[in-house]
């Protein structure tokens, strides 16, 4: 088994801290629920791998990875890329909606003001 008790405790505390932080942000309406799901999942993964670092070796061996710790790095990078892409897709959708709303607002504001020539 890899990782000392102190390191495990730090990683577990970090994971729990991230999870609690996310719940706090949801509670204060700073983070929308669906985004919080991702971050709570990340914090759960940090807690799990922090307390049981042997899981990485166990999974790596079964997947035939010669150096199992790199598996965690690769998976984390891939998940970050997916997160960034979905974030950009979401921003694109929102930008489109924002433009549409701004256009509607400009038109309706003019019509409500009733100063059409």
């Amino acid at each position: 088994m890899t990782g000392g008790i102190a390191l495990r405790a730090v990683l577990a505390a970090l994971g729990i801290g991230i999870g609690l932080g996310m719940l706090y942000l949801v509670r204060r309406d700073r983070l929308h629920g669906s985004y919080a799901i991702w971050w709570v999942f990340v914090s759960a993964a940090v807690v799990a791998f922090g307390i049981f670092p042997g899981m990485i070796d166990w999974i790596g061996v079964r997947l035939g990875v010669a150096y199992p710790p790199i598996l965690l790095v690769v998976v984390a990078l891939l998940m970050l890329l997916v997160k960034m892409l979905t974030g950009d897709l979401d921003r694109t959708r929102q930008m489109r909606k924002l433009r549409y709303l701004a256009q509607r607002m400009a038109i309706l504001e003019h019509e409500v003001r009733g100063d059409r020539r």
Binding site: M95, R96, Y100, I107, H110, R116
Partner: protein, 238 residues
């Protein structure tokens, strides 16, 4: 084409996107009034100056954007307004005095006689060597056969207004490549007519304000042109 009962002419609106054009908009609208009785729709792209007030004073319909979104979003706002209010034909032109209102008739003619849905006022003479190179590159990439890709002096038929005002066109940052590819996909006939253009009164392009802006435009347009080149044609309105 729907026509007004009294004149048998299509209902025409002129859309002018404007950002900080207080120094020009009054004169542009005055020249416009001398050439056309069409409704002038000035879309104020959240200017810092008195563009909106001057335009309103000059008798234009003024739509004020709550934030600055850029020339295309402002133009599309005007097109949406025109579509909503039943206009048959829209001419878009810059608010900086570059486009001559006396040439609106030249742009309208192919739409009125039913030979085109979009007419681009082309002025190759205004382009620098670098701009011509960029046009050629983008033509090659997109497969479009339009010479003046970036001209904002255009006329749109009712069907073309519907496409330009659609949700699909909302995400474009510029009015050229993406929109023209969308028009092609909807099988709308796009033609060019030669027009003359004056130099900008302040001598500076709003869209190409810096080398970074040019690089962003080229990268954006390259991706757009390459990704949409092979899209299947659809019927207008689909």
């Amino acid at each position: 084409m729907n026509r007004t009962a009294d004149t048998n002419l299509p209902r025409l609106a002129i859309v002018l996107p404007a950002y900080n054009e207080a120094g020009n908009i009054g004169a542009v609208l005055e020249r416009l009034r001398a050439c056309s009785s069409a409704e002038a729709i000035v879309v104020d792209d959240h200017s810092d100056d008195a563009t909106a007030a001057i335009a309103r004073e000059a008798g234009a319909t003024v739509l004020s954007m709550p934030f600055r979104f850029g020339a295309w979003t402002a133009t599309q706002t005007g097109l949406r307004y025109a579509y909503r209010h039943g206009y048959d034909l829209v001419v878009t032109m810059d608010a900086d005095g570059q486009h001559d209102p006396a040439q609106i008739g030249t742009l309208m003619a192919p739409i009125v006689d039913g030979t085109a849905e979009v007419v681009i006022g082309a002025c190759v003479a205004r382009a620098s060597g670098l701009r011509r190179f960029a046009w050629r590159y983008l033509r090659l990439l997109s497969g479009l056969e339009i010479v003046d890709l970036t001209s904002g002096f255009r006329a749109y038929s009712r069907r073309a207004i519907a496409v330009a005002a659609s949700w699909a066109a909302t995400s474009f940052d510029y009015q050229d490549l993406g929109l023209l590819l969308l028009m092609r996909r909807k099988r709308l006939r796009v033609v060019e007519r030669d027009v003359t253009m004056s130099a900008r009164l302040d001598g500076k392009s709003r869209v190409f304000s810096s080398w970074f802006a040019v690089a962003h435009y080229m990268a954006f347009s390259s991706i757009l042109g390459a990704s949409k080149r092979g899209r299947n044609l659809e019927e207008a309105g689909s």
